[in-house]
Symmetry: C2
Subunit: 409 residues, 2 copies
Amino acid sequence: MLSVEEATHCVAATIHSLPAEFLALPLAAGRILREDLHADRDFPPFNRVAMDGIAVRFAALATNPSEFRIERTQFAGQEPTPQLDPHAATEIMTGAMLPEGTDTVIRYEDLTFRTDEATGQRFATIQVPPPHAGHNVHRRAADRRQGELLLAAGTYLGAAELAVAATVGATTVAVTRRARVAVVSTGDELVAIAERPLPHQIRRSNALMLQAAAEQAGAITQAFHFNDDVAALQQGLPPLLTDFDAIILSGGVSKGKADFLPEVLREIGVQQIFHEVQQRPGKPFWFGQSPEGTVVFALPGNPVSTFVNFYRYARPWLLGVQQPAVTALSGVGAVSAVLAADISFRPKLTHFLLVRLEHSSSGQLLAYPERAGGSGDLASLLTSNAFLELPPEQELFPAGTVLPAWSFR
Amino acid sequence: MLSVEEATHCVAATIHSLPAEFLALPLAAGRILREDLHADRDFPPFNRVAMDGIAVRFAALATNPSEFRIERTQFAGQEPTPQLDPHAATEIMTGAMLPEGTDTVIRYEDLTFRTDEATGQRFATIQVPPPHAGHNVHRRAADRRQGELLLAAGTYLGAAELAVAATVGATTVAVTRRARVAVVSTGDELVAIAERPLPHQIRRSNALMLQAAAEQAGAITQAFHFNDDVAALQQGLPPLLTDFDAIILSGGVSKGKADFLPEVLREIGVQQIFHEVQQRPGKPFWFGQSPEGTVVFALPGNPVSTFVNFYRYARPWLLGVQQPAVTALSGVGAVSAVLAADISFRPKLTHFLLVRLEHSSSGQLLAYPERAGGSGDLASLLTSNAFLELPPEQELFPAGTVLPAWSFR
């Protein structure tokens, strides 16, 4: 039986980059860029006024230190006119282009104004002289030069990245397409959410859980349900292998007499990569790949097992195929957290322990173990927000131990 | 001029709960539940078999410790039949209802089987006896009792919560509706993304940035652009006050001659709550509210100022109105992080310092200061993922200082 580490390695080996697609920029939020974007102009593209006030020639301060005649006013977005008189000033607004003949901006807070009543001419008097030439000017190319790489292929497009792409006029961008995931539930005891279950039945909940979790990881999902019937599975599963990048099943992979899935999957050409992992919960996890490249995560059907296996293996896979820069699974999604209470676990299995992760006021990430009712206790997931990965070699984990934590909120 | 703390308090005072709406369960992912959901049955609803194997009466082990006749086989989803012979066994699958007349399950791994060739009768021999009655049985009501509160109003609906709601047959749920946000850019120097700017113009990027960030916080957004023109603002802004919960503007709130916004907003009936906050970047931030209750975040237009003010004030407001349980802004979105290098900042202002937050291998959240080019340097946001809030009273912040961090990825 594979260790968690070996299983992780096998899953990671099937990660391949999904193809790119072209999207209008506003629709590309949350995607991974698949092309390099360069500065089409200098950043800023001109000597940009950074404060509202007046623009002067710094050298003029030596001969004309007090009062400046306002030659004209220049707004942002106006085509600039050179300042004619080297000893005058141009009243100027933030975002405007610094006029030729000036090099320094003095802000309103450091000025007083007067108007000559006879001529209507305005004058500005400097109260706080600027420390150096170029003060309050955001110089052309100070941040980035024309042609410089701004966003490299592989960059996640958050709000700031979209704004940078907008600045260089990228109306359409190449991004990785979303993963297409079929979520399949099996089990004769399961009825639809809208149905009233008989005493020996329960409502289907895993499919909705997997759909929500996969979509939260960026995938497009579609749900299917098959009964525990070889013929239904033989007929229903093959079309999914051509239409989806991944199939995530829950149920039907244990040792039971109605657990036909491993057998059926092999029959329809999905090559088994592994079955069973040295872990609790979620040991009966089956993983394989079709000749077309579609991967199959066949997860045990107990809700907590399904959930933990999804976040430990399937979610990193989804992030991996959608984010080409990520080539290995190790660490994707896991952070280091400090165990806040003693824990013991004797079986020689990796133990996924439900915890509540909290940022302490001292800057530590603390993990508080939650009372859990076993892998069938769906409701136990509600009071936790992560699980810790406790390695199999150890039995006692004292408070203070640092362990990998997988967050699911 | 208000302190950051006072401004935060003023913004928080306008938080009110948005109305609820009813959604089909699969569409409710990421929303806040606005009704209590109770267990419609016990959890689990019957004595549920937790392992594939055989069910026996524990007491029978005393008299019949080795070999059990298999009376019949019971699958999950099948209506159960009582076991007739108290000394026999029922072969049984995970998820099935435990048959009457049995109380204990022994898994396949702890059994061997033989078939009598003459009669075809199957027998199971127990290799590892069960430790107690009830072994491998997930008892009815072990996790939750019928009528017990499962999900309280105010709960965030993640993947696990949707699954629990599905289990109790909640096909439609009441959730808080999304906030409606108008994103308005102003500035005569700005042209559309698809246009080729003249030398003194730049492309609009703030609107797209704010839209992406607001949608990431759960809001529905629509973008508008107005030139720096009093009449255009007087005509364009009033309809937005009736159609949206919040208006987020960028630009037009500084001391410049084209900064008409505070004046126009007051004219159209938006009451100013504050103008200017003791902070850098983003000091000229203007905040107000219309008689209808629509709030107006008028943010300075320098991209980094816009961005930081959005994440520090507007995002917590959006989370607050969409998540009724959140009644104060303090702490919403901020975590404690440990400064990884010495920083000095002399002005008596709260300083928002761009940093790269990283989880250290020892379980600490470390904040690495990033070289920043000032509030006009949009590209400086690309290498950071958060900002630290440095209080105004202090000038030197040695490495190791714990400070609030606002994450924006």
